[in-house]
């Protein structure tokens, strides 16, 4: 609070505690310095937030300027749109399956790699992290070749071990493709929660483990009594980050399957993109107003998720088990 005085003292030497207008005037260099960033955020985060709602009430192709106000018509139509609900369900299912798998696997590997006597741990961390930094869309394209039913390396492995006679249609079988996608997705992003878990694990002082070991506590006991409670606040945040990330899979899915075969991998973002901009090489389906309405409903779902998570974080932070913060 006091540091504002460094911005500008009033000529009288009086602290700028007076009226709101005076305090705003005193802080004008602050506002000025933030101006470029604020302008961009207003233009490209705030304005779209508001405008999505606005567009959602119009019938608008995006080609012509003319928009027809249709009220709640778009929303009503969405309620009866089979493709919308299926896409919605697929997004939820995708995130619902991928998130726990990703979180658990990465936690196990993080615990293994957190062992300081493991000299090569940094090398393994690097290898596991490389898929995270690579371009999602391009990784998806490479993976669509790796999992190709026509002699892709994945099928070659199965054949080399005589596990299958006929090539498996990892990406062409509508019943299998979603599982393949989840598997590849977990591979791609696994390294990110791994680093988060490691960050969390390293806030736990090693003296705690040493003391417990002296007291005769085994590995399991130490995990349950030290690691788990101290990691809980991190777990909530990491779950939130991963969950929200797993709802945003456009680049990954579009490049891997284009939503196919037969719409079997069309998740929410792909549905919005297809309704708004048409499928690849096909521009007839442009309905920006309708797509905006779908986006608004999708955004609402994410906000509900986020609010629920934040409430959970608050609860946990207020609780007694947060020695990590007192450090």
């Amino acid at each position: 609070m006091a540091s504002i005085s460094a911005v500008r003292r009033e000529p009288t030497g009086q602290e700028p505690h007076g009226s709101l207008r005076r305090r705003i005037w005193a802080a004008r260099p602050c506002y000025l310095l933030m101006l470029p960033g604020l302008v961009l955020i207003v233009m490209f985060s705030f304005y779209p937030l508001v405008m999505s709602w606005y567009y959602a009430f119009f019938d608008w192709s995006g080609f012509e300027q003319a928009k027809h106000f249709v009220g709640w018509q778009n929303f009503r139509e969405l309620m009866g749109d089979e493709y919308f609900w299926k896409a919605f369900g697929r997004s939820a299912w995708f995130a619902g399956v991928a998130t726990p798998v990703e979180l658990l696997l990465s936690l196990v590997v993080a615990i293994v790699l957190n062992d300081r006597s493991l000299r090569l741990a940094p090398l393994f961390r690097t290898l596991f992290f490389v898929p995270v930094v690579t371009t999602t869309a391009i990784v998806s394209i490479v993976m669509s070749m790796v999992f190709s039913a026509f002699n892709g390396p994945a099928n070659e492995v199965l054949r080399a071990f005589h596990l299958t006679e006929r090539p498996v249609g990892f990406l062409t079988d509508p019943h299998l493709v979603m599982w393949t996608a989840i598997g590849i997705f977990v591979w791609k992003w696994f390294g990110q929660p791994m680093i988060y878990w490691l960050a969390g694990l390293q806030t736990i002082p090693s003296e705690l483990y040493e003391a417990a070991q002296v007291d005769g506590a085994g590995w399991w006991r130490r995990s349950v009594s030290i690691t788990a409670p101290l990691l809980t606040p991190f777990a909530v945040i990491i779950t939130l980050i991963v969950l929200v990330g797993n709802m945003q899979v456009f680049a990954f899915m579009q490049a891997l399957t284009h939503g196919g075969p037969y719409f079997s991998t069309e998740v929410m973002e792909l549905y919005i993109y297809r309704t708004a901009f048409g499928a690849q090489g096909q521009v007839s389906a442009q309905r920006l107003g309708y797509a905006s309405a779908a986006g608004v409903l999708f955004g609402l779902l994410l906000i509900v998720l986020a609010v629920a998570q934040i409430t959970a974080v608050r609860r946990l932070r207020r609780g007694p088990g947060t020695p990590a913060e007192s450090r």
Binding site: S3, I4, A6, L20, I24, C30, L33, M34, P36, L40, I41, F44, S45, Y47, P48, M51, S52, Y55, V112, R116, S117, L118, R119, A121, P122, L123, F124, R125, T126, V130, T134, T135, I138, I141, V142, M145, V146, F150, N151, G152, P153, Q192, I195, L198, A199, G200, Q202, F234, I237, A251, A255, M268, Y273, A276, L288, A291, G295, V296, G299, A306
Partner: protein, 300 residues
Amino acid sequence: MTTPELTARGSRAKMGVPSAGVSRPRPRGRVRRMVTYAILTPIALAWIYPFLWMMSASVRPNGKVFAGLGLFPTKWFFSNYTDAWVDAEMGRYFLNTVVVTFGGVAIVVFTTATMGYVLGRYAFPGRRILVAVLGALVFLPQGYTIIPIFDLIGKLHLDGTLFGIIIAESGQAHIIQLLLYAGYFRQLPKELEESATMDGAGFFTIFVRVFLPLAKPVTATVVILQFIASWNDFLLPLVLTLSQPDLRTLAVAVYSFQGENYTSYAQMNAASTISLLPVVVVFLLLQRYFVEGIAGAVKQ
């Protein structure tokens, strides 16, 4: 060269801390380590196999891309690279990506450093509201904002320019970067600006001459984070270049090859390698800052 190191712990891990275990051999620990390595090594190799396969396939003749699991082709066809670079115009898309990435990095570093400085060090009317709003923006999905952004770029007559892509990308709320700067600036001592004020420096001079140079480690993290984010971005450049194929970035270009009459798998792998290598190299060179940065953001 030393082994690539990836550690949130930073330099402490490098020391290796030879503790009691060295003087007194503990066979159980060694056995456990060996078992761990024996399990981890094949997994890690399988983990990066897709990248190795991609590089291997990029130097094969097109007909031999899907031929067995071996990674070493008998003959090396580097012509795939020249074909991709020249005929498929990967050179042009590479340049587009470089421009978009550097533009994005410059703007994001500037806006997050200035906002982070003010939010981290000063109390001003409206600060709490601003922090709350920025926090909420973390959850704003790109799929939600893309239609208004597409429309806005058109209204500003920035469609058909790389600048349009850069500015749309820079305008997304970069909350993690902002938090990193705010957190760093907050913990710097107050005496810094007091003594600078004594020397007659004003508000902006203090920021540019005193605080910004001190924040070099954060700037390094933000640069890498944003480099990777911009280089990898897909939805924005895809939508904004729908009618302007010349402005495609690498990700969009390789994606578009699929739909066009460009079906050479070998060249596709060459193009993919061209697109992936720079970002992997940047990461491997600067991974310590990067990992410390994202780990630090989580710890906050």
